[in-house]
């Protein structure tokens, strides 16, 4: 908790009482979420004010990670240009984000608005880092249209703590020019993992610098993001509902690994695949020498004009389609003293103007299903593909996600690497280590 002045404390107590009356109390430490930026209680129970927050010239601090900086920065700039409140955005290197936020949460030094890689949200909601904003979310006229996978991951014992901020979905990117050269139909992307492998092999046969596919072979988060959708599309799951038991050694998961392993064994993957630790994994496809590979939807805006890029949902073995609904969720931190102003910004980012004119215009995925088809996506059918697949995608839930799957020292990376680059004999044993980590 940040120390506040005596007057502020008094106001806060008054406000807390009021807050209880209007049942908009958040945080389990008796903290209040109804003091405005000027310390005045704004215990207004009308739907409008609850949904909109206040725009009173407050300075709102916000943190985000470098991976989603572009989207956050655009939203912040647009908000600052049209509001009294001003958001100060701090961008932190992606790899450093969790340690930094964790330390700040422990010290009660979080910013007003905290954006977080959606898979890490459960750990932070449980620790009380976020304010309960159930009533505020429910007061939004489009509450039911928000990306439910983000909302669900941020819901703890019925209380909602976060809303979607930037959507990052995994989809297949394919190089239409190389498809044509390899005698494939550039308008018929793979619809099964078997077909995906077939296409990759056909393109790899072009020779020279061209390779069939590529993936982040030494990057736990990349595997999770690009391979799990195939498991989901096959109708299986990766973990139990509580995220305490791994199904990553089940036959459906193995079937997905096997297809990739075949491509690795036959050298259909680009050089450097096995050693790609993540920092440069999305920079390879835009060079124009990769046939087809799963990548983040946020990279669509970065594709060069030198070749035509196609986008398709990630298929499963034998068909189906799914996606990893990643990106960042955002909420008000429990040590914010200006929750109403913070909410004003967050609510605005979800409104029609921000979603369409700021996000969709830049080929980013919208966070609302009712806007999936908008004037910008209608100009680019690839965006419709991405927006639609968001509806069938998933966001996995686990309290131990980061240390198990993202951390290079976590148990998931050896599991998948031993299988794909090794002989796969240690799968069961490696999966036990994943279980142990999920339950620790």
């Amino acid at each position: 908790m940040r120390r506040s002045t005596r007057t502020r404390a008094t106001t806060a107590v008054t406000a807390a009482v009021l807050a209880l009356v209007v049942s908009a109390c958040g945080g389990d430490d008796g903290d209040t979420d109804t003091t405005g930026g000027d310390g005045e209680a704004t215990g207004d129970s009308s739907e409008d004010s609850l949904a909109e927050g206040v725009d009173d010239g407050s300075t709102i601090t916000m943190w985000t990670r470098a991976a989603t900086e572009a989207q956050s920065q655009r939203l912040v700039d647009a908000y600052n240009a049209s509001h009294e409140n001003q958001v100060e955005l701090t961008v932190i290197p992606t790899d450093d984000y969790l340690p930094r936020v964790g330390t700040a949460a422990g010290a009660g030094e979080l910013p007003d608005v905290l954006s977080l890689d959606v898979v890490f949200v459960p750990q932070f909601t449980t620790a009380g880092a976020y304010l309960d904003i159930t009533d505020r979310i429910d007061a939004l006229p489009f509450a039911d249209d928000l990306a439910q996978s983000h909302i669900e991951v941020g819901t703890q014992d019925g209380a909602k703590y976060v809303v979607p901020h930037t959507m990052d979905l995994s989809v297949l990117f394919y190089n239409k020019d190389l498809y044509t050269q390899a005698g494939l139909d550039p308008e018929a992307p793979p619809t099964t993992m078997e077909e995906f492998a077939e296409h990759a092999r056909a393109i790899d046969a072009l020779g020279g610098d061209v390779s069939g596919t590529f993936f982040g072979g030494n990057c736990g988060g990349c595997y999770v993001f690009t391979w799990w959708p195939s498991i989901w599309a096959s109708g299986a799951d990766v973990m139990n509902d509580d995220g305490t038991e791994s199904f990553l050694a089940e036959p459906e998961a193995q079937a997905v690994y096997d297809i990739w392993k075949g491509l690795v064994d036959d050298d259909i993957v680009a050089p450097g695949t096995q050693d790609e630790a993540g920092p440069t994994w999305t920079g390879v496809f835009p060079e124009g020498n990769i046939g087809v590979m799963p990548m983040p939807s946020t990279t669509l805006g970065l594709m060069p004009d030198t070749f035509e890029t196609g986008v398709a949902p990630i298929p499963g073995v034998g068909g189906g389609e799914s996606t990893f609904v990643g990106g960042d969720a955002v909420g008000i931190s429990s040590n914010s003293e200006i929750p109403d102003a913070a909410w004003n910004f967050i609510a605005w980012t979800l409104g029609d103007e921000a979603q369409v004119e700021v996000l969709a215009q830049n080929r980013d995925v919208v966070a609302r299903t009712d806007l999936a088809s908008n004037e910008y996506s209608d100009q680019d059918p690839r965006l419709v593909t991405i927006n639609e697949v968001a509806g069938v995608g998933r966001t996995p839930y686990s309290m131990r996600f980061g240390e198990t799957f993202n951390d290079p020292q976590g148990p998931w990376l050896p599991l998948v690497r031993n299988y794909v680059f090794g002989d796969g004999s240690t799968l069961e044993q490696d999966n036990e280590a994943v279980d142990a980590s999920l339950q620790s």
Partner: protein, 281 residues
């Protein structure tokens, strides 16, 4: 009484944090929620059960032995090379010492860029020269990752140890060598019979610094190899980092830190004994 400021300083910046770490290592301390009571001896008992622990200990020791030997031999060679004022010696001394002024994290990032199969200039250059026909997996295999890290560390620190040894070399009076030459000693003989014994204090200092530094290696592996591939370059301090900032468990991170501290204490006491004996000869 005149020692009071120093004593206060030591108390505040050394003894107190040490007590805090000790207390932390005996308690349940999730980073996100603050203290939650006693957890002794579980934090300590859990260390050896961690699947990363013994491989990390093994790697840290292996790395320490190799780096210390390579560094000392190379620094000694460099110091001997630039010992006497000749043409170009000033340039060489500067060139050897330059990498020392760069931060280890920056140097690691620089080398990561050099080694990268995607953006690194080294592989294309070697292929252009015709030395290799495919990218060298600089950080792709356990052996190469270790070698690449050692290249970085040696590049970064050899100049520093060279400087220490150089000062040692220059403090040896010329008359001693003169006397040896008169007695008919060869260059090799005088190096082993005069230079090395008289350099003992400088060598011991280099040893203590490099051994301690290597056992606490973190930055270079954190940035360059990420502890990989397949945890083959995960050091003990990287484990401490993972416990504290990836698993958010300050209690077990503190317990591990205490263990590392005790090990360092034992090793350094042994080294000091050796150093003292050398001084008493």
């Amino acid at each position: 009484m005149y020692a009071a400021p120093a004593a206060l300083f030591v108390l505040l910046f050394f003894v107190l944090p040490l007590l805090l770490v000790g207390q932390m290592s005996a308690s349940e301390r999730p980073l996100l929620q603050g203290g939650q009571g006693i957890n002794f001896p579980d934090n300590y008992a859990g260390i050896a059960d961690d699947r990363l622990f013994w491989p990390a200990v093994g790697f840290t020791l292996k790395y320490t032995v190799i780096v210390v030997v390579v560094l000392l031999v190379l620094s000694m060679g460099m110091a001997l090379l630039v010992q006497n004022r000749r043409r170009g010696v000033g340039f060489l001394r500067t060139a050897y010492f330059l990498p020392v002024s760069l931060g280890l994290a920056s140097a690691s990032l620089l080398f990561w860029g050099f080694y990268s199969p995607q953006i690194g200039p080294i592989d294309p250059f070697l292929q252009w020269l015709g030395i290799t026909d495919e990218p060298v997996r600089w950080i792709g295999t356990p052996t190469m990752a270790l070698i690449s890290s050692i290249i970085l560390v040696v590049w970064k620190f050899a100049g520093f140890f060279m400087l220490i040894l150089l000062v040692g070399l220059q403090s040896i009076p010329n008359e001693v060598y003169e006397a040896a030459r008169v007695d008919g000693a060869s260059k090799v003989q005088s190096f082993f019979r005069i230079t090395l014994p008289l350099l003992r204090p400088s060598i011991a200092l280099c040893l203590i610094i490099s051994v301690t530094g290597s056992l606490l290696a973190f930055d270079q592996f954190f940035i360059l190899t990420n502890g990989g591939p397949d945890n083959s370059t995960t050091t003990v301090v990287m484990m401490i980092y993972r416990e504290a900032f990836r698993r958010f468990d300050l209690g077990s991170a503190a317990a591990l830190s205490v263990v590392v501290l005790l090990v360092l204490l034992v090793i350094n006491i042994a080294q000091f004994r050796y150093l003292r004996r050398g001084a008493d000869d």
